[in-house]
């Protein structure tokens, strides 16, 4: 007989896994920081060049290098970088002189609601639609939804944005075509109106792929043996799906939510360009064009942090939902 694990044993295993997963998170973060650092520093030419022109005097060059920090050896630069990361101090932009952390924080106030809004809306659509597509898989509705989602995952998110702008903002004039109120969130109403189309854009694209996952998970459950058993025990189809199907279908969907959230985040970055929103994305794009390395590093680091953390949270939720994962060391769903 397989040894059954009691409650305290399960708790021990869970905190064991938690510790290992946190360690893995930190390790990934460290690796990403190193990668970021190297990629930016290993450019041909000195980062300080961005501040200089062809006629710069040696003193100006030296001053620029001191400012940028490229006058010290690479290891020292790296340690300095790590230290900065530890305090989440991203330095100042060489181009604009602004504090990078403050810039990023104010930009996040737009990108985060945009991402979360789009993601939640997409989920709200995908769950019922995906379920319908599976429950009516053979009917015209199921086939239609299947084909629509096939179409939906092929559409570039910025194109959806352009089309929506064209229809709702420019032709119909219901919503602003872009931009965000200068006073930011203090103008609550205007801010929401500015975010409506962008959120819709993201939601349309993300709901296509989420629908496919929900549909696939639901199909698996509908055809499963345990639903058949439940029905053989006198449960109606609906009751069987509610009592058993829901959780079992949710498990594989949750396992991909981490990656989908990261994808949504990137989608938000692109969408900000379409609607001229002063979010993280436009900051990054401008910084890349201007070779503003402090900003680039800061934004990419924060993005990486977001991606890794959403993966971590998704793993945690999945682990709580699916008891079978406790049986595997690595906690990967099979």
């Amino acid at each position: 007989m397989i040894e059954l694990r009691g409650r305290s044993e399960r708790f021990g295993e869970r905190s064991d896994w938690l510790r290992r997963r946190l360690a893995s998170l930190l390790a990934s973060l460290a690796a990403a920081s190193i990668l970021l650092f190297l990629v930016v520093r290993l450019l041909p030419g000195d980062p300080a060049n961005a501040l200089l022109s062809a006629e710069s005097t040696p003193e100006q060059i030296a001053a620029a290098r001191r400012l940028v920090g490229s006058d010290v050896p690479l290891q020292q630069q790296f340690l300095h970088w790590l230290g900065q990361l530890g305090t989440l101090d991203f330095g100042e932009s060489f181009i604009s002189g602004l504090d990078v952390r403050a810039e990023i924080a104010s930009r996040l106030a737009i990108t985060v609601p945009l991402t979360l809004g789009g993601f939640v809306l997409a989920l709200f659509v995908a769950v019922p639609v995906g379920y319908l597509a599976a429950a009516r898989a053979r009917s015209w509705l199921g086939v239609l939804i299947g084909n629509l989602s096939q179409f939906g995952i092929a559409i570039p998110v910025f194109w959806v944005g352009i089309v929506l702008t064209f229809v709702f903002a420019l032709r119909l004039g219901w919503l602003p075509a872009g931009g965000f109120p200068l006073d930011g969130w203090s103008e609550r109403g205007e801010a929401m109106r500015s975010l409506l189309l962008p959120v819709l854009t993201i939601a349309i694209v993300m709901s296509a792929s989420l629908t496919r996952y929900v549909r696939s998970a639901t199909l698996d459950v509908i055809g499963s043996d345990f639903i058949r058993t439940a029905r053989a025990q006198g449960a109606s189809y609906g009751r069987a799906m509610w009592q058993h199907g829901l959780r079992n279908a949710a498990a594989p969907v949750i396992s991909v939510l981490g990656i989908e959230l990261a994808t949504t985040f990137i989608g938000a970055v692109v969408v900000e360009q379409v609607f001229a929103l002063p979010g993280l994305g436009s900051l990054l794009v401008r910084a890349i064009a201007q070779h503003d390395y402090q900003v680039i590093q800061g934004v990419l680091f924060v993005s990486t942090l977001v991606v890794l953390c959403s993966g971590f949270v998704a793993d945690l939720i999945q682990r709580l939902v699916d008891p079978r994962l406790a049986a595997t060391r690595a906690g990967h769903a099979r």
């Binding site: 043996d225 345990f226 058949r228 025990q233």
Partner: protein, 266 residues
Amino acid sequence: MTLLQVDALSIATRAGAPLVDGLSFSLNAGERLGIIGESGSGKSLTSLAVCGLLPADLTATGSVHVGDLEVIGARESELIAIRGSRVGIVFQEPLTALDPLMRIGRQLAIVLRRFRGLRGAAIDDAALAALEEVHIRAPKRVLRAFPHEISGGERQRVAIALALASGPEILIADEPTTALDVTVQAEVLDLLDALVAERNMALLFITHDIAVVSRIADNVIVMRSGVEVERGTVRGIVHGAADAYTRDLIASAREFDDALAFGDIR
């Protein structure tokens, strides 16, 4: 009144290909019928047809009477009324037949609540009793466990407990021992034997294994490609089958299975 009456049952795909053709049999309380055949003989479909659980792309014709309800063509609400209360099924693979994300105790509780109207502490006691009845050691721990945390033999016992908890008059066992280790097979068979005898249930036992059916059934129907090929008492078939196919089945069973204990034939 016969508990189960099947007349000219035929099951076909949407395209018309017949999977079962013209099967007829009946069962009364205390009777045990085995259906033997290889995979693809249509035997499992028969068991699903009795409860009205055939997959949507298959159609059944003919007549299947469970008590006084005609199953073929019945409304879902009528079928729900007989599932569990009149007919219980034990399936082949208990690992997939049980909800993997729900504790055993809770799955038992659902059935107990529905059919015995129990609540609260009474359910816990009944669940414990149900597990003890199927000879599960350490029933308290099994109640709190998830299906993947217990052994295959225990899982199948749980499945049997679930099927019996609703108090059916007819038990259908669809290859219940096929997925188990050989040593565990004998135990589970004996358990089924005892429980069915105790409750004087009708048993429809489906398998591909002659040795297994000979231990538990009185009469047997041999199926091949959806058609009945021979029927008779187990003793009669094993010792003197009329049909060539049946004789082949028995001969190969004899060749490979030294443990075929003819002394146990009912």
